[in-house]
Amino acid sequence: MEFFLGKFNYWVYIAMMMIGFYAMIAKHNLVKKIIGMNIFQTAIILFYVSIGTKKGGTIPILEGAGHHAVAPESINVAHYINPLPHVLMLTAIVVGVSVTGVALALIILIYKRYNTVEEDEILRQLS
C-alpha cells in the first residue's frame, strides 16, 4: 500500500498517457485526437513535476530575499523542491500549446477542404 500510494503520481501519469494514447490512435475524430494529445502531454508534465517534489519540501522561493540579503550558508537546499524540472515544464507547456494551435489550424483547413473532421470520411474522399 505504501508503495502504491508513494508512487501514486506515477501511476496516474501512466494511466493518463494511456488514455491520451488511446484517443490519438483509436478515435476517428480529429479533434478528439488532439484532445488525446493534450492529455498525453499534460501527463508528461505531471511526471516532471513529480520528479521535483520531495517530502517536506517547500516552494523554491527565497522568502524575504527582497528586503535584506540572505546569507547563502543559511539556505538548506534539502528544504526546497528542485525547481529545474518546473522551469523546463514552462517551456514544455508553451510548446504543447503551440502544437495544439497548429493542429487545430490544420483541422480548420481540413474542415474547409473536406467539410468533415472524421478521419475515415476524409480518407474515403481522398481515395
Binding site: F40, I44, Y48, L84, L88, S98, V102, A103, I110, L126
Partner: protein
Amino acid sequence: MIHQAPILTIATLLLTAFWVPIIGMFKKESAYYIALAAIFIAFAAACGTLYSVLLHGPIHYHMGGWPPPWGIEFVIDYLNAGVLVLIALISFLTTISAKKSVEQEINRDKWPAFWSLYLLLIMSLMGMTETGDMFNMYVYLEVSSLTAYGLIAMGEDGALIASFNYVILGSVGASFYLLGVGYLYIVTGSLNMADLYRLMPGLYHSKVVFTAFAFFMVGIGIKMGLFPLHVWLPDAYTRAPSAISALIAPTMTKVSAYVLFRIILSVFHIQFSTMIIPAAKLLMWIAAVGIIYGSIMAIAQKDIKRMLAYSSISQIGYIVLGLALANRMGLIGGALHIFSHAFAKGCLFMVAMAIVYKTGIRNIDEFKDLNKKMPFTMAAFCVAALSMVGVPPTAGFFSKWYLVLGTISGRHWLMTAVILASSLLNAIYFFRIIEKTYFSSFLGGGGHGHHKTPTVVMTEAPAMMVIPILLMAVGILAVGLFNFQIIHHLLQFIVPGGLA
C-alpha cells in the same frame, strides 16, 4: 568573431525569420531574397565553425556565459561540425533551387509565412546539431516539427491530412523523447550531455536508465522515420510542396539520425547498448527489416516522390544498421551514410522538384523522353541513382563498403546479405526509371535496329534550378572521392576508444 560562429548560425536565421513576415507584408517578393541571404550567412558561419573545429578542436560555447551543467551549452565536435556544414550547404542549395517551384506551388500571399517557417526549420535543425543539452534538444526538436507541420500542410491535396498525421505521431515522438530526458534527469540530476556521459557508467543497472533509453529510441525513431515508426513519412514527403520535400528529406531525417548517434555514443556509452542491454541487436534487426521493407515498397510505387520517400525509409535503415553494428567500420559507415545519403536524396528530390515544376509529371510511367527535355536534370538524377545503388566512385558506394566491412568484421553475415540484397533492390527501382526515361523511345513501336529519332524539344528547367542540382551531383562524387578525408578529419573521432 570566429568563436561566435556557432551561435551566429542560429541567431541569424532566428532573427531573420521574425523580420521576413513583417517586411513581407509590404513586398512579398523580398521574402525570398532575405531568406536566401540569411541562409547564406548561416552557411558561412557553419563553414567558419567547421574551420575552427578542424583547427583548434571541439568548441564549447556557453549560452549567456553560464557554464554547464547549469547553463545551456553548445558543443561542436568533429561529427556535428560536419553535419552542420552539410545541413547548411544542402539547405542553401535547395533554397536557391526552390524559388521557382515555390512561386508555382505556393499562393503568393503565403510567401512571407512560407519563408519564415522555412528559416525556422533550418534554424532548428542546426540547433539540434549544435546543442549539448538534452532539454534544449527537445525544444529544437519541437520547433523543427512544428515548422515542418506547417510547411507540409502547404502542399497539394491530401497534404493537410498527411501533416495532421505527422502532428499526432511527431508529438508522440517528441513526448517520448521528453520522457526519456525526464527519466535520465531523475537518476543523474543533469541535462548536459557531457555530464550525463560522465555519470552514466555508474548507473548502468538502473531500470530507470533502461526505460529512458527505450523512450529515446522510440522518440527519435519516430522523428527519423525508422521502420516500423515510419508511417507518417511517405505521405508527408509525397504531399508536401516539392521544395519542402527537397529540404526535409535530406536534412530532417539525417539530423535525427545524428541525434541517435549522439545519444547512443555520447550520452549512453556504446557498450551500454551492446553489453548491458541487447539494444544494438534489436536495432540491427529493425534496421534490416526496414531496409528490405523500404526497398520493396519503393519498387511498388508509381509516384516518384513516394518512391523516394520509401527509399528514404530504407536508407535510414542503413544508418541505423551501421550504428547498431557497434564496431569501428560500422559506425564510420553509418556516419558516412548520413553524408552520402543526404546528398543523394537531396539531389533526387530536387530533380523531382524540377520535373514537377517543368512538366507536372509525377508518375514514373510518363517519364519517357524526359532525358531529351531535361538532359542536365536527368544526368544529375543518374548520378544520384547510382549513388543510391552504390556504384563506385559515388558516395553511396563508400558508405556501403564500410557497412559491409562492419558486418563482416562483426560476423553478421545475414546483415551483409541484407545490405547487398538491398543495393540490388535499389537498382531495380532506379534503373526502372532510367530505362523508362532513356531507353524506351521505341517501346511498343516495334521496329528493329535503325529508326528515326523522335524530335523532342529541350525544355530544361531554369538555370537557377538546374545549377544547384548539378552541384549536388558533384557533391555526391566529391563525398565519394574524398570520403577518406571526411573520415580522417571528422568521423573517425566518433569511434570510442577500444572498439575493434
